[in-house]
Structure formats: C-alpha cells, structure tokens
Symmetry: C2
Subunit: 209 residues, 2 copies
DNA sequence: CAATAATATGACCGACCGGTCGGTTAGTTC
DNA sequence: GAACTAACCGACCGGTCGGTCATATTATTG
C-alpha cells in the first residue's frame, strides 16, 4: 500500500516540473519566476520551497525533468529504427517533430537554456554542459555506428557529422519562431538530407527528399 | 563648431551602448539590469532615462548598436573577398573569428537575443525578427551569387545552403562555451567546408582543410 | 482515538527592479 | 556676467523578486 501523502507530493512535484519546463521554454530558465509558476498552478509559492530548497534546486530539477521528457519523446522512439544512418536521421526527424508538434510553447527547453547559460557560471551552467555533452556524444555514437556498419563512406568524420546535424536542429528552433515558420523544419530536414546523401553507400537507405 | 554638450551626450550614449551590448551578451537582453549597467559605467541610472525613455527603448538602441558592430567587424571585412563562394565562406570565417577573438564576453549578442525572444511578443522580438531575416537574406544572396557566377553546381539550393551555413555558425557559439572550446570553431569551419567542397566547380576556390 | 509526519498555506522580510522627480553642473549664447 | 539649455545626479516611488516562518490541513500509524 502506498502512502497517500507521499503520492500527493509526488504528483505535485510532477505537475510543478511539467509547468516549469513549459514556462522556462518561453521565459527562460532564469526568467522563470516562482510567483508566476505557482500562480498558474493550484499551488502556493511556499509549497515550492517545501519541495525544493531554493530556486536553483528547482532549476536543476527542471533540467532533469526536461531531459527525461526529451529522452521519452525524441530519443526513445527514434531508437526503434534500424541501426546506422537511418537511426541517425530518425533522431533528427524526431527532434523536428517534437518542435513542430508544439509540445513546449517555447519550442525547445534545452536550446533556450544553453544559450541563456553558456556564458554564466554556477551549478545550472555546469549541469547544462553535461547534458549538452551527453546529447552530442549520442549523436557522435550514432554517426560512428553508421560509418562502422558501412552505411556511410568510411572516410566520414563522425564528430563533424554530429556537429552539423545538431546545428541544423538547433537553428530550426529560432528560425521557426522568428523568420519563416512554414519553411524552417523543411529546410532543417533538407539540410541534413543533403549532408548525408552524398555519403551513403546505399542511396535507398534515406528518402530522396 | 560642435556643441560640447551634445558631443558629451553622444559620447555617453556610445559608451552606454557599448557596455550594454557586452553585458547583454552575457546576461541576456532582458536580464540586462539598468542599475547594474549604470554601476559599471561612470553614469547614474537616471542618466539612462535622460537618453532613452524606457528600458525597452534602450534595448532597441542596443540592438541597433550590435547590428552596426556586426556589420563593421564581421560583414564588411568579408565583403572584400571576391564575389562567389569565397565571399560566402569568408563571411562564415569572419563570424567565427569574431567569436574566437572574444570581442563580446558572451560570444554573440544576436544568437543569445534570438533564443531569448523567439517565443515572446513585443517590439524587441519584432525588431530581432527583422535583423535575423536581414542576416539570412544576406547569406542567401551570397549563396545565390556563388551559384549564379558558376562557383557552385547549378542545381544547388541557395536557401538550403544559407540555412546550413548559419546553423553551423550558431551552433559554434554554445558549443565553444559549453562543450569543447578548443574544437568548436574548427568543427564549425570544417562542417561548412565539407558542405561546400562537393558543390565546387573549381576545387581550388576553397582551402582543402 | 490520539500521536505523528508529510504537505500546503498566508503573512511577511530585505533586496532589487524599472521608473519619476526636483535640483545641480557644465557648456553656449547674447 | 546674465539667461538659457543639455546632460547628469541622488533620493525616492510602487511593485516584484527569492526566501522565511508559524500555522493549518491531510493522511498514516499505534
């Protein structure tokens, strides 16, 4: 039998973090105000301090929550694809779909947080560095696998490829909201496709367009 | 004969905007606090309101100042290169050099501001949209010229190319500060080079590496 | 039932925010 | 030197920030 009090706390915590990720995707992780966060929830500001000792701890918890969400909605589904270049491309498409579906009102939690904290110091910056490195390592591993199993030309540099794929996804975020919403994701998908196709050993592994 | 009072005001305005661009590149354009800005200058907070009616007007003036700086230090020098793919690549290299030289402590004013305001509303967001569109249009025009004069294969999509070049520059900003400072610019340069080289009609137009 | 423990609350704190105001200083004009 | 003007300053305003605390509510346990 579960303790109803603990269950209630767990539920509150999840609700708060859900809202925090959404709010931070718009206002930024630093611009996230505890009063505003509490106000748009059936929760008082003091209750936030009952669960997290400080704003910084809540920010760190929000990062973990967003990381889990990204893993569940972007990475995991894409990993169902066959190993190699198809899986790498599937991760990029999955990322774009996550943005296009409007899961978060601000588009992307991590891209926003990265550019907000890249020039600051502290625990939030440090944790974001780790998560970024983890994400890039994942892309590099996927690119490396695609080369290793012979999907891509053997002189392909996996790190360079991972950089370019990540860059195309990152740029799509601001482009979709500031320049041309209708073309941003098409351009991003097309850019990665043009990048990968010349490297393919078997051109049928990826779509033409 | 110039009026010494007006000259003094002009000097103050320039000093404030210089500091504002630098500060905003670290703290963000919204996180820019007028008290802090005044404090690190020989200027009082009230003096700021003597020159700009509100924080938003100062933010807009800061955008214009950063835009001029970007034009002077990034675009203009690169435009000295011969028209075509060399000029396009020179703009990318010039951008990376601007970052690597540490002209702004936060790396890039515009990349930060874009990801800060892409999901918000108001005059600042609107102006940033215009500046972004202007920058992308410039890249697209350069890519179009490179195709038109025969530097690049004629079936090259200039807009797609411009997207990828911009993306590589944008990604270098956060990567240099959060993941691997020593490799970020090399990767960014390499990514654009690998992108352009297969499209060249004359391989000697760009360096090997 | 009472004792206990986890969760949640509202009133409150000092610090800082953007912004206003009356008054002072520096430079020009006559 | 008097009159004028642009630039600048310190004190202050209402409001919001992150954070504290004594108290109340809710659910489990003996």
């Amino acid at each position: 039998m579960v303790d109803g009090r603990l269950a209630r706390g767990e539920r509150t915590r999840a609700n708060v973090l859900d809202a925090a990720v959404r709010l931070a995707s718009v206002e930024g992780l630093g611009g996230l105000s505890l009063s505003q966060l509490a106000q748009r929830l059936p929760v008082s500001k003091s209750a936030l301090f009952a669960h997290w000792a400080s704003k910084e701890e809540l920010q760190l918890a929000t990062i973990e929550h967003a990381r889990e969400q990204f893993g569940d909605l972007v990475l995991r589904p894409a990993l169902a694809n066959p190993r190699g270049v198809r899986r790498l491309f599937a991760v990029h498409e999955s990322r774009l779909r996550f943005y296009a579906d409007g899961v978060l009102p601000g588009g992307c939690f991590f891209v926003g947080a990265q550019y907000e904290y890249d020039a600051r110091e502290g625990a939030v910056h440090d944790r974001l560095c780790e998560v970024s490195a983890e994400w890039l390592t994942t892309l590099e591993r996927l690119a490396g696998e695609a080369v290793a199993i012979g999907d891509l030309a053997e002189d392909t540099d996996p790190d360079l490829l991972a950089f370019a794929v990540d860059a195309a996804g990152t740029a799509a975020v601001y482009r979709a909201r500031m320049v041309d919403p209708e073309r941003a994701y098409t351009l991003s998908r097309g850019a990665v496709l043009r990048l990968l196709r010349p490297l393919l050993t078997d051109p049928t592994l990826l779509p033409e367009e």
